[in-house]
Amino acid sequence: MSAGSATAGDRTTTTGDQSLGGLGGILRLGASRVIYETRVYFRSPDSVFFTFLFPFIMLGIFTAAFGAAGNIGTNPDGTGGITVGAYYLPGMLAAGMLLSGVQNLAVDIAGEKSDGTLKRLGGTPLSPLSYFMGKIGEVLVTATIQAALLILVARFALGIDLPTEPGKWLTFAWVFLFGVITCAFLGIALSALPRSGKSATAVVIPIVLILQFISGVYLQFYVLPEWMQNVAGLFPLKWMAQGMRGVFLPESFAALEQSGTWDFPLVALNLGIWLAVGLVLSRVTFRWIRKDT
């Protein structure tokens, strides 16, 4: 219902954003948003505790609680196998990706919707693309620091052996990047679900928590019933954790997976599908403000 009403003397067209630097300007602002968002993230105690430090705490608890029970995956004579810490490291890396992406952004953006941050930004010439770049860039930066620290803690505090083959690290790089970006988009998409910033944690955390329990993060995946493994297989966390196990666990552990192999192509397929879902949902659901027309 809009009667056209552009009067004489238009100085700009509605799409004439040349004064704002076009695509270069959008990218430059996106980069400045990454710095801004990362700074804000590390100044928010809740985000840092529940999305950045949480995997460290869980890794510490599992190591302390089950370390005395002996190694996992031992030979019949009780030799060999790997320590509890070594077994849980891939799961904690996957959990970190999920928390840094999905939980962090879903709660963060839902909060920005209800506290007026997005409304204020929506009144400026900031492009939503720059805004998204800032959020995804922030997730990439914080998740990378988190993963690097987790690996350093595993190596130097818990004495866990790390892979030495370059190919393993190449696999780590793509599973990590693919997984984190997918999680970031799913976080943006999920932020549309809570009705308010206050209810965001209540909506998001149960989803994230259940996924972690059924996807082989807290519980050893091979002991779960098959139906639960199949349900988990629909979601990306199971595949991220499996990909990380494929990097950090000995080859012999592949036998414990559902198909008896690491299934890296299926990891890529599942993440690709969820990335597409996250992209479309983010695009369709994102609004600077709720327009109640």
């Binding site: 219902m1 009067t7 238009d10 799409t15 100044r43 204020r120 400026t124 327009k291």
Partner: protein
């Protein structure tokens, strides 16, 4: 109006939320360089109107042009020419005043200098303080600073001085006058009628989604609403009030009749008194626009209110 086309042009603007009609057809113009005050009680439709002009809400019908563009179809280049100070928000504020302003300055093609803006809103001593640690009034000044950092041609100020102490309010008025002197067009909503009187060139009064009056600050409400009131106590202590166009003659008559009357006042209704009269008349008379009070000898609806300018 010297400008060829108005900066803001609104014609028969309607907005409904379901069956509730928030705006029932309002029309007004704001010309370049003008400060226009939009007044009205809570829930009258001011915020709905201003958010339609800012591009936040879509109208149900009518015509709207802001800086020559329909806000519903406007892009980023259009937003770069606006400054928006929303009603107060509850952002977490984990950045310092300087960090926030630097960041927002980067969003605009031709921003003001950050340090100058921080000085202008009186936050120089808080420049390195996180916004979350500022008082309510100080946070509001950050809002104002963020609204003007982009050197806007048109500035929306939605209840900008809520939570300001009197000194801060006067500093803010000075700031607005400077912006005005630079040619900024301003749309202001406020519940402080003295603020509207201080800053506004013209005002519109909205009630129940309709514009019940519009005009310069001096003429709004009509001449009748501004008839001065003479008030005094007689020798027996009884209070007398007379509304008259010739207060001096009444006072002279009093003096001639019996010396110095007690508590003598000549009161010219302030914008606040005029405004309250307008809104009350609109409520009691339905949609009839102006109530005739005439030159009566009792206190009219506008006379008995509190904040009045006392002359002589």
């Amino acid at each position: 109006m010297e400008s060829s086309s108005p900066v803001v042009r609104v014609r028969d603007l309607h907005k409904s939320y379901g069956s509730f009609e928030a705006l029932g057809g309002i029309s007004f113009d704001i010309s370049a360089g003008e400060t226009f005050a939009l007044l009205g009680p809570n829930g009258a439709g001011k915020s709905t109107a201003i958010e339609i002009l800012e591009g936040y809400r879509d109208r149900s019908s009518g015509e709207v042009s802001v800086l020559g563009v329909d806000p519903q179809r406007a892009g980023r280049a259009w937003k770069a020419r606006l400054g928006i100070v929303l009603q107060s928000t509850g952002e977490s504020g984990n950045v310092t005043v300087t960090e926030q302003l630097n960041h927002f300055a980067g969003l605009y093609p031709n921003p003001r200098r950050v340090s100058e803006v921080i000085d202008a809103v009186g936050l120089a001593s808080k420049a390195k303080t996180r916004i979350s640690r500022l008082s309510g009034g100080q946070r509001r000044r950050v809002d104002v600073a963020l609204g003007i950092i982009g050197r806007p041609e048109l500035l929306f100020l939605d209840e900008p001085t809520t939570g300001f102490d009197p000194e801060a309010r006067h500093q803010f008025w000075d700031l607005v006058r400077r912006l005005k002197a630079e040619g900024t067009t301003i749309l202001l909503t406020t519940h402080y009628l003295d603020e509207a009187a201080q800053l506004g060139d013209r005002a519109g009064v909205i009630n129940d989604g309709r514009l019940i009056d519009i005009g310069t600050i001096a003429e709004i409400g009509g001449a009748e609403a501004r008839v001065p009131l003479v008030r005094w106590r007689d020798a027996g202590g009884a209070l007398h009030e007379v509304r008259t166009e010739e207060p001096a003659r009444i006072v002279a008559g009093l003096a001639a009749a019996g010396g110095e009357p007690a508590d003598l006042e000549v009161i010219r209704p302030s914008l606040e008194a005029v405004y309250l009269g307008l809104v009350r008349d609109h409520r009691t008379n339905g949609n009839a626009d102006n109530n005739e009070n005439g030159n009566s000898t009792t206190a009219g609806p506008v006379g008995a209110t509190s904040d009045e300018e006392v002359l002589a």
